[in-house]
């Protein structure tokens, strides 16, 4: 019997399970605790902090969208600010110009995002790795200018953008406006993460990952790579557009300069910080891109951007696999320590 099989034998040892549940059990417990914390959190925070964690959540949805594309399908995008803008503007225009109910605009924004992503997926099919990064870079640099374009001004509000007001909680529920929208965002976030997990664990998800790992082998196995890649682009853009719609509602304002190239960079950095190809990482990434720039600003206002740049460089050098790698490392350490203790006993 080799050492490795011994370790696996020990991991199904009932005694060890009490100390650490099974890995599936641990995962359930961690998820439950995280959801519980997320539900309780707004009651312990002021309205501004509640607003901020709402921002973390919709960043997380956008980063999740990017993760499905980049982490699981291997397509790079520096252009997700464009899909975020599509979502935000869809909501803002429908609510402000056409008086549509705020809640209804979210699925519409997601649908438009899906269509846009699916269509952009076609040129993306012909571009590998770097070239796709370049094309999407161009997309995100061009987006603010398109939003300012004066022939669309009647719809987009041009440079001024659009102001909207968020609805307060319906049915006289005992929530403040910020709390209500936090819970709406939380519900959508949970739904999005649940769907993403199911997608990745399905037959489709395996096809998506097979394309990332070896497109030729995947095609040989009968995976329609073109279809799956464009669909993945669509799903990714859908999530990001939903995040954009939520941002328009929560921030109550859309303007071209909120959707610059820098926003795309934030998504990408959030993705790498959270861990490429690890779904829960998106929340950590969302928190990072919201709080770290603020933190850097706290240290020095003028140098904030420089500090942010230094921090992301350090992350690339010191923990290139992001929070996912850190968590994995922690689990390995814990396991080893437990094994040692068990051996002693």
């Amino acid at each position: 019997m080799t050492a490795e099989t011994q370790v696996t034998a020990q991991s199904v040892d009932p005694e060890r399970r009490i100390a650490g549940l099974t890995s599936g059990g641990w995962r359930c417990a961690a998820t439950a605790i995280a959801i519980l914390v997320a539900v309780v959190l707004p009651w312990t925070l002021g309205s501004f902090q509640t607003f901020q964690i709402t921002l973390v959540l919709f960043y997380a949805i956008a980063i999740l969208g990017l993760n499905i594309l980049t982490g699981f399908n291997g397509q790079f995008s520096l252009g997700h600010s464009a899909f975020f803008a599509i979502g935000a503007y869809t909501t803002a225009i429908l609510v402000e110009r056409y008086g549509v109910s705020t809640y209804l605009t979210i699925p519409v924004a997601g649908g438009l995002g899906f269509a846009a992503g699916f269509l952009f997926g076609f040129p993306a099919l012909r571009l590998s790795g770097l070239y796709l990064a370049l094309a999407t870079f161009a997309l995100s640099v061009a987006t603010p200018q398109l939003l300012k374009y004066n022939h669309f001004e009647d719809f987009t509000g041009g440079v001024q953008g659009i102001n909207l007001l968020k609805d307060s909680a319906p049915f006289d529920l005992p929530f403040s406006v910020d709390q209500w929208w936090y819970y709406v965002t939380l519900a959508i976030t949970l739904f999005a993460f649940w769907m993403a997990r199911n997608l990745i664990n399905s037959r489709t998800g395996r096809a998506i990952m097979a394309i990332r790992d070896n497109p030729i082998a995947a095609a040989t196995m009968g995976v329609n790579t073109a279809l799956y890649k464009t669909l993945t682009f669509g799903v990714s853009a859908l999530l990001t557009a939903v995040a954009g719609a939520l941002s328009a509602i929560v921030v109550e304002y859309v303007a071209p300069d909120s959707f610059t190239f820098v926003l795309s960079v934030y998504f990408l950095i959030g993705l790498v910080i959270g861990g490429v190809g690890w779904i829960p990482g998106a929340v950590i990434g969302g928190a990072f891109v919201l709080y770290v720039p603020n933190l850097a600003e706290g240290i020095s206002t003028g140098l904030a951007g420089v500090l942010f740049g230094v921090i992301i460089l350090l992350v690339i050098y010191l923990m290139p696999s992001g929070a996912a790698g850190l968590v994995r490392l922690g689990i390995t350490h814990l396991r080893r320590r437990l094994d040692r203790d068990n051996n002693k006993a």
């Binding site: 980049t70 790079f76 520096l78 040129p123 012909r126 571009l127 790795g129 770097l130 070239y131 990064a133 370049l134 094309a135 870079f137 161009a138 997309l139 640099v141 061009a142 200018q145 398109l146 300012k148 374009y149 004066n150 022939h151 030729i216 190239f261 960079v265 990408l268 950095i269 790498v272 490429v276 003028g302 140098l303 904030a304 951007g305 420089v306 942010f308 740049g309 230094v310 992301i312 460089l313 992350v315 690339i316 050098y317 290139p320």
Partner: protein, 290 residues
């Protein structure tokens, strides 16, 4: 007709800058197979250095030459400190590192020199030749052409130039011939940084100096490199001039574009060239072995 000629000439002038930026992008692409998303910010930072030197009282051309030297050293330093440790890292790490550099340079320039718009001096007299082309525009084209000639001579007739070409074309064989491929890459970074600096200094009097001035120009530089062929420096230069003229003609003669959708023109250009002819007009087609 006069409008047409004027647009052609001023297109050639901005095209010269796109050519310089495209050439810088191509040099780094040939050295490390990555697009330098921070190329524009490097050029912007160099331009600020030049402005500061002139502001400190140095004559224009002294500041110009000094800035190019500093940029060259800076480019080498960036390669040695930031990108050398990453040379085997995956593409995504490289992209993030370029973006980190982007933030540091962009905000660093804003922190040191302020985010306000500054006028940059031009060494050339004001005015123009019968309203067709300004003296500064002639100067832009002239300096870029001189720089290109020098680069051509360097790569064609010096042993270092030959070694750099060898290192880019076939790193393994170059290494076996005793060429220090690592230093050739660093040299490529230094030269790219210096070439970008020339572009930045020359365009600054036109677009005004501020930390975000290069983003649009970088996009056009990328478009130029893609149109000309990312693997061919001469092609990238030709692409720069073509894109510059195209930008002006489209802006003038297609009414709904105007100056407001210039970046979208670059976007469409990049995507359509990559789709129809990914190797560009003058690039070589790369064949990968499965």
């Amino acid at each position: 007709m006069e409008l047409f000629l004027h647009q052609i000439f001023s297109g050639l002038a901005t095209g010269a800058i796109y050519a310089a930026v495209a050439l810088a992008v191509v040099m780094i692409f040939l050295a490390i197979d990555h697009f330098n998303f921070a190329q524009g910010e490097m050029a912007m930072f160099s331009t600020f250095i030049c402005w500061a030197l002139i502001d400190a009282g140095l004559p224009y051309w002294v500041a110009f030459v000094l800035t190019i030297g500093i940029s060259f050293a800076g480019g080498i330093a960036i390669e040695r400190i930031l990108f050398r440790p990453l040379h085997a890292a995956p593409v995504l790490s490289h992209i993030i590192a370029f973006l980190g550099l982007f933030f540091i340079l962009n905000n660093g320039a804003g922190w040191i020199w302020d985010f306000t718009i500054k006028p940059m001096a031009s060494p050339f007299p004001e005015g123009s030749i019968s309203g067709l082309i300004g003296y500064h525009e002639i100067g832009m084209i002239g300096i870029v052409l001189i720089m290109l000639a020098l680069l051509y001579l360097f790569f064609r007739y010096t042993s270092v130039g030959l070694a750099m070409r060898a290192a880019a074309q076939n790193p393994e064989s170059a290494k076996l011939c005793g060429i220090s491929v690592g230093w050739m890459i660093a040299l490529g970074w230094g030269m790219a940084s210096a070439i970008g600096a020339v572009g930045g200094i020359l365009i600054a009097p036109v677009v005004f100096l501020e930390p975000n001035m290069m983003l649009g120009i970088l996009l056009y530089g990328f478009a130029a490199a893609i149109v000309g062929g990312i693997t061919n420096p001469a092609g990238a230069v030709a692409g720069g001039f073509m894109v510059g003229v195209l930008e002006n003609l489209v802006g003038t003669y297609i009414p709904f574009v105007g100056s407001e959708l210039k970046l979208t023109v670059a976007l469409v250009l990049i995507i359509s060239v990559l789709m129809v002819k990914p190797s560009g007009l003058f690039g070589r087609t790369t064949v990968t072995r499965v």
